[in-house]
Amino acid sequence: MSTSTLTAAATAVLALVFGIVGLVVVVAGSASSTASSPVLATAAIPIAGLVPVLDQAGSLCPGISAPLLAAQIDAESGWNSSAVSSAGAEGIAQFIPATFAAYAQDDAGTGSVSPFNSVDAVMAMGRYDCALLADVSGIGSQPVSLMLAGYNAGVGAVLRYNGVPPYPETEAYVAKVEALVSTYSVTLAQSAGATSFGQAVVTAVTAQLGVPYSWGGGTPSGASFGFASGAGTIGFDCSGLVLYAVAQASLGQIGLPHSSELQATMGTPVAMADIQPGDMIAFALGPDPTDFDHIGIYIGNNEMIDAPYTGVDVRVDTLNSYWQSVPLAIRSFG
């Protein structure tokens, strides 16, 4: 299959995934990968010679991809093949020596194996990721998250918790890598006259109507298990829904924090008279008029879609006199 055919196939898949009409593909450099995996944006790889290695390592097993490996390398070492941490991790993939020894081969054909040889390290990372995926298979619906957690915390912790263990460094690592994947994937951009960004936000959020509320739920890629009262529910809380919709509309290029208070300070401020579909609309429901503790997406016709509270699904709310009686902030990303 030719590269152009692969690109076209991947474009179709991505367009379906994101549900956005009227978008065209803008490839950041040539693309290379299998049609079933995210396409590696080769221009984003700072070490050009690693592109084929990433493609090879990313195809070692279903579930991993070249962009995922690139995101891991970015988070692990920032592409520094000689990196050594004070904690003893080595090379571009920041392997602990014992782990590297278990998964490394002489992939570079140098007659020796070294974590500082990026070819050896990237291929070892691919094998290790595949092994972790196999170990966490059957645990949950988000195997890549679990695999990444295993990479950071050890698979034993993932198995003990039957999920991502509640270790801040591990959770931060998973979130960071997952957010970076879009940096290394072929990007889409809007063509002139195509659907507006705001409409893309509306499309993304509308597709989530009826999804349960889940405290702490929601990632850039979709609904997720929440926390505490949301631990058993795949869904969104209010800011989780908003960060999801904006991430989808921007194809991962805009990563919002999981906080209505912070979201209400981002983007461009908009007056109520100028509000447009796709704008974020935040409310200060408590005594502090600057503490925006709820947020939704304006969809037009004086309505918003929001994730209200536990027990109530993502829904359309009319911006009635109640909502307009409290301090609000409107923000736009385009």
């Binding site: 988070a75 692990e76 070492s77 920032g78 520094n80 990196a83 941490s85 004070s86 904690a87 003893g88 991790a89 920041q94 392997f95 602990i96 014992a98 782990t99 278990a102 081969q105 290790y128 595949c130 092994a131 170990d135 295993g150 990479y151 950071n152 915390a153 050890g154 698979v155 034993g156 003990r160 263990p165 509640p166 270790y167 801040p168 460094e169 931060a172 690592y173 979130a175 957010a179 405290w215 702490g216 926390f227 505490a228 009262s229 809380d237 209010c238 990563g255 919002l256 924090p257 999981h258 906080s259 209505s260 912070l262 408590g286 005594p287 502090d288 503490d291 503790d293 509270y309 536990t310």
Partner: protein, 201 residues
């Protein structure tokens, strides 16, 4: 109500053990990923991690933290988690160990028995190059959609804004993390402890 508390570097959770706990942070378990066989043999089953125990005692909470306030305990725990000194600490794990001062025994034990299995990451490496320290600016965010507190359980969402400051005035844009915190206590009037957390962007 929104509150903002900028906590001085190493001002919490390091009582009696000095700032940074290098000894703890330097504990690195090369054997965390124990393999029963090499992957190229096609067998990937790995026994659960058998971590080396952390021998140092769980640190005490910092004086001044109101342990009878769930919000104060949540703030202190998150602050400790994200307050680091790369000239002393070897990874984020050192800060996590300091934060165990505010955790239940079972949560603290889990943290202590599970050091990270990979390096501290590119950001840490950069910060360490600049000998950076970072103090967390903490904001507790009300979330009307979240769980309702009971006499013995409480739920908080805490935002940590972490800005590194290195030598020669070096700095970078801050990292912002949201942490969902569950706290429990044995009875009304007893001190609160963090029973688990979830950290996200």
């Amino acid at each position: 109500m929104r509150r903002l508390a900028v906590i001085a570097l190493c001002g919490l959770a390091v009582i009696g053990s000095g700032c940074g706990l290098k000894a703890q942070g330097s504990v690195h378990r090369a054997g965390t990923h124990q393999t029963n066989s090499t992957p190229h043999q096609g067998v990937h089953t790995r026994s659960p991690a058998t971590p080396s125990p952390i021998s140092t005692p769980i640190p005490s909470p910092a004086p001044g933290v109101d342990l009878h306030s769930a919000t104060a305990v949540a703030d202190a725990e998150v602050t400790a988690t994200w307050t680091v000194d790369t000239t002393v600490d070897t990874s984020w794990y050192a800060a996590e160990l300091r934060a165990t001062a505010y955790m239940t025994k079972s949560y603290a034990t889990s943290i202590r028995q599970n050091p990270p299995a990979s390096g501290p990451g590119a950001m840490w490496l950069t910060w360490a190059t600049h000998q950076a320290t970072a103090a967390a600016a903490i904001t507790t965010e009300d979330d009307p959609g979240g769980p309702i507190d009971t006499t013995t359980s409480a739920y908080r969402k805490v935002l940590a804004t972490v800005t590194p400051h290195g030598t020669g005035g070096w700095t970078e844009p801050p990292e912002v993390w949201a942490t969902f915190v569950v706290l429990i206590r044995s009875a009304q009037g007893a001190p609160w402890q963090v029973s688990t957390t979830e950290t996200t962007r």
